[in-house]
């Protein structure tokens, strides 16, 4: 009886181990946030980028229109990549672009905008990154499509032509 029992347990043990590793190693262990969310816009109170006056989020998202909230910084190289698409998006007057200047200094950021153009309607500066955490952001660039005070879509990393088409399709 004993000689039958031990191989059975061994086989079972290896089988379970195999299944666990097979499933576990296939799981991605990179953080992938949910991009289709219906979360309310977190409220913030930040300094305006241009003149340092206090801007509150309720004021920005007052009209229940489409907003494109883009977190950017002049030190972020992928932000340069996505800039042309933001300029393209600016041409659309159904959407308002809000820039979140993330941990940046004024001189660098303004020369960045002077060189590449300013696509934003409003820019606020997030000097210490706390407001970005309230949005659930974890890097630059990151963008949120807001409609009626709700985040309806989230874009991790630089937006590309496909994302641009998708946004234009949503706001149509």
């Amino acid at each position: 009886m004993k000689s039958k029992f031990i191989p059975l347990i061994l086989i079972l043990f290896f089988l379970i181990t195999f299944v666990i590793f097979f499933k576990g190693l296939r799981n991605s262990n990179i953080y992938i946030p949910d991009t289709n969310l219906k979360k309310a816009v977190p409220s913030f109170e930040l300094k305006s980028f241009e003149n340092g006056s206090i801007v509150i989020s309720e004021k920005i998202f007052e009209d229940n229109d489409y907003y494109f909230m883009n977190i950017w910084a002049s030190w972020c190289i992928p932000c340069k990549e996505e800039h042309e698409f933001l300029m393209e998006l600016k041409k659309d007057d159904r959407i308002e672009l809000i820039g979140f200047n993330y941990k940046d200094n004024y001189t660098n950021a303004s020369s960045f905008l002077k060189d590449l153009g300013n696509p934003y309607d409003i820019i606020v500066s997030d000097k210490n990154g706390i407001a970005s955490i309230d949005w659930g952001a974890y890097g630059v660039p990151e963008s949120f499509l807001v409609y009626q005070n709700k985040i309806i879509k989230r874009f991790i990393g630089p937006i590309n032509n496909e994302d641009l088409l998708e946004i234009q399709k949503i706001i149509r």
Partner: protein, 120 residues
Amino acid sequence: MKFIHIFLIVAIILNFNFLKADEVKTENKIAKNLRCLICQGQSVYDSDSEFAISLKLVIKNKIQEGLSEEQIYSFLKMKYGEWILYDPVFNRNTYFLWLLPILIFLAGGAIIVKRFYNKK
């Protein structure tokens, strides 16, 4: 009189320091329990990425606002999902993980007990 004054001031300063030390302790404890989302295999405490620096600031502010450790965890869980916590929460997806050691322990115990009685 003067002596009492000085004594009081010193006592207050020391007390403040104690408070601060406690805050820093919980701050570090929380940061160690959080996964840095952009750096693989590192906690927020160990990381010096922009994200981790901001997150440490957030934790500090939340503690000063008087939030408990649990409240801070649930706040971050709401923002980033359960993945940010190193300590997995007991739920449907993780009950196997939590109960497996107990099951193995019970099975082992059962084998030992069975052998013991068989010998008798």
